[in-house]
């Protein structure tokens, strides 16, 4: 079922068909499908926003909110920025959209605690997206994974949204990290990836040979 839908949609995105407003209904229901079933299709979503751009009267605030929330779930990819560029001033005046913009801003700034506080204070917004919280946690773990060699358990739990012990254990296991006795979590031996490098210049013999040969 998912595959068939994806293929129908893919046909709607080729060539000039992309700009056919008659396709909007199918594309919009595809967005809702993604929200429910926790799948993601950036191109299809961008096509919807583009059709709204060309046909302002067909603009649908609810669908746009869903698209933006789905883009949040694909961090660290810059899908959200791409979506932002297709919205107009008028759309941004909508308070719902404004909330999501703010969420994106704090998420990009990696202010995770503030993010979770905000999200918990408006559960209806994010509840339409299945797997929203977990997708954000994936992003948090991505950033944590490249920044820390060891991190405090309590700090990690806060960054993940105030999760309980069991959930924390689940995420630690998922990323192959290790809980240590002193209340720390070992991430990875970053020393291997992050080393001081000295790049010196290398001149190939061929390049110098031309000069040496000519110096008669």
């Amino acid at each position: 079922m998912a595959e068939a839908m994806r293929q129908t949609v893919a046909k709607m995105l080729t060539g000039i068909e992309r700009y056919n407003p008659d396709n909007l209904q199918t594309l919009e229901s595809y967005v809702e499908y993604q929200s429910r079933e926790n799948t993601y299709d950036l191109e299809a979503n961008l096509a919807v926003l583009k059709l709204y751009q060309f046909n302002p009267l067909r603009y649908n605030s609810n669908i746009t909110c869903q698209i933006l929330l789905k883009a949040l779930t694909n961090f660290p990819h810059t899908d959200f920025v791409l979506c932002k560029c297709l919205l107009s001033e008028k759309h941004l005046a909508d308070p719902q959209i404004g909330h999501i913009m703010y969420l994106a801003d704090i998420l990009e700034s990696c202010d995770f605690q503030q993010f979770w506080t905000r999200v918990h204070s408006m559960p209806e917004l994010c509840s339409q997206i299945t797997g929203f919280h977990d997708s954000i946690r994936k992003f948090v773990c991505h950033v944590v994974g490249i920044t820390f060699q060891t991190v405090d358990r309590i700090v990690l739990a806060k960054l993940l949204g105030g999760v309980d012990d069991q959930t924390l254990k689940h995420w630690v296991k998922k990323y192959g990290w290790r809980e240590e006795d002193n209340g720390m979590v070992f991430i990875a031996n970053q020393d291997e990836n992050i080393k001081t490098k000295n790049i010196t210049e290398k001149i190939d013999f061929e390049n110098a040979a031309a000069i040496m040969a000519a110096s008669h």
């Binding site: 000039i16 810059t78 990009e108 820390f148 210049e201």
Partner: protein, 551 residues
Amino acid sequence: MSYINDDYVENYDTYAYNGSLEYDPHSGEPHTETDYDRQSYNIPDMVKKFLTYFRNCISEGLLFEIQNLYESSFPKLTEQYFEKKPWPDETDIAYLVDEDSVFLILYKELYFRHIYARVSGCPTIEQRFNSFYNYCDLFNYILDADQPVPLELPDQWLWELVDEFVYQFQSFAQYRARIQKKTPEELEKLHTQSKVWNVLCVLNVLHSLVDKSKIKRQLEVYASGGDPDSVAGDFGRHSLYKMLGYFSLVGLLRLHSLLGDYYQAIKVLENIELNKKSQYSHVPACQISTSYYVGFAYMMMRRYSDAIRTFSSILLYIQRTKQLFQSRTYQNDQINKQTEQMYHLLAICLVLHPQCIDESIHQVLREKNYHEKMYKMQYGELSEFETCFIFACPKFLSPAPPPLDATGDYDYVKEATKRQTQVFMDEVRQQKMLPTIRSYLKLYTTLPLSKLATFMGPGPSQNDSRDLKEEIEALIIHLLCFKHKMKNVVWTRGTSGLEGKFQSGSELDFYIDHEMIHIADTKVAHRYGDFFIRKILKFEDLNRKLRMIKI
């Protein structure tokens, strides 16, 4: 081909019946009327001879001669006789070319292009409409044929044709958005003739040219080392269609960028490797324009490494071929403007994503005082970012016209640019602390979190009650942000510019272990060897030439 095709063809028919009536330059402005009258009786002999000869060359397909006439004779005559006024009306010169309809369409293309570029004041609404109808005629002629039309034009002309087509759309969109200064008649005309310069129409033309020439398939096969002619089909093998197809891809890149759709912009250039010499890349202006838009799109997608790479290679190319762009034509004006814009964008990217670049480009940045701008940006002066961005960005558009009930006070023209600037400035603001962190980390190999927090926190004179724990928490947020922002998608291989892997672009890297920051820096030694070798060889060459000169 699609639902849209009928619309502009329909308009064309309407135009044809009203042709002689609509195309009446008696627009009510007295002095242009008398100019016109004077002109129609006084076409210089040289111009008459030129037009007849030009038409003959085109009908006989003498490509080399056409190129010469197009690139030198036409501009020379323009400068000599028509510097500030239009070329003669088509009805006045039709007898010189036996009423050759194809030639007249091509002539009008040049006629309108000249009006847009050099005739003072903006084109009138009639001129805009008529130019559009002329393009319809031209593209209908090319696309509706069962077999490839027997027309051969130089690549330079074909590129400028497509480029101008997109440019005139851009110009019209901006004109349409300026509702304050419109007369009721103009507004009425805009409303009833809403298909003219409609964005869907422009897209349809570009897509049709792409599809007809099968250029995408050709490029795919070419990129994998095969023979593109094998998949080109009858139309695609013909040079006119092939090159129009290729230039239409660049036209789409530009159009998508103007509408803020950076993803589609880059997607359209699948299978085109930007700085590789290929059978398609003979027009420098096309290469430069392409690199400008691609680099800009990458920058907006936060793919700074890719943007820097794109800008660097084209700027190096421009440095080497500077002499080509010295003469004063509007095409060269555009090239020189884009070059300056690209230097601005490169400066912005280098501030956000410090990276080693070619020494000669560094030199230009130094000589032209870009370092001053970069210095200001590094020290968090947001207004400098905004100024540079606004100078360097394309002239964005919104595809839909202002609503019918729109009042005069809202500035529709500036809206699109404001939007994109906003998105960019949001990104800059999120990255505000990065340069400061970088400058501190550069000084150490290990640094405790608490110490850095104290460096970065407010001074002792301020709110002392903010305790160290809070400051460390705030610092960790900045450090996480640093890592996140410096790890972006970079193209490594593959046919699509959209592909790539996440790579950390920072020369300065770190990780946090317990309460300690461990810092790693990349020290790159200055590369002198390459520079010296190039100069030595150049000098040798000069010497050899000198010895051969006989006085």
